[in-house]
Symmetry: C2
Subunit: 94 residues, 2 copies
């Protein structure tokens, strides 16, 4: 799958205002009321990852979770990452 | 809770041969057959963390999981971290 060019990245960024592109990956940090709520989110993301066949890096820091997705085979951000990011956003109230 | 001194760290390391102390934290990386198995482990660790009232950092990289524990209030590794590490080891076949 081709990498997104800068126009496509900018357009996608408007649809995903809470996400940033950093070092070739699309990432967002989420904060929850406690660890249990954070783990519920992590499990929802894990289910989405299996559905999409696309697995982000997930860093858990008590009530904070960093999701970071890129396309290893393409070496950067592709349409697959944006689809996954949109699905992740749909699991939270923003 | 007091930090462990170097003698205590060495003794504890013998009981936890797969763990290393790095930058003031006790850590171990675990590898599983796939992401689903990794997530089962993460959920087991999460349950232990709640039981112990002590929550490690958890980094998920597809089938690899890094567990990193230290005692924030003490600024390093204490007995609590070793107890949690031993409990985490008990969930896997080493």
């Amino acid at each position: 799958m081709p990498l997104l060019n800068s126009d496509q990245l900018n357009q996608a960024a408007r649809n995903l205002p809470m996400w940033t592109v950093d070092a070739g990956a699309l990432q967002r940090s989420f904060e929850f009321r406690d660890f249990v709520a954070a783990m519920q989110f992590v499990n929802a993301v894990a289910a989405l990852a299996e559905q999409h066949g696309h697995h982000p890096d997930i860093d858990i820091r008590y009530n904070q979770v960093l999701i970071r997705t890129w396309s290893h085979d393409s070496g950067g951000v592709t349409e697959r990452d944006f689809r996954l990011a949109q699905a992740v956003d749909s699991t939270v109230s923003q």
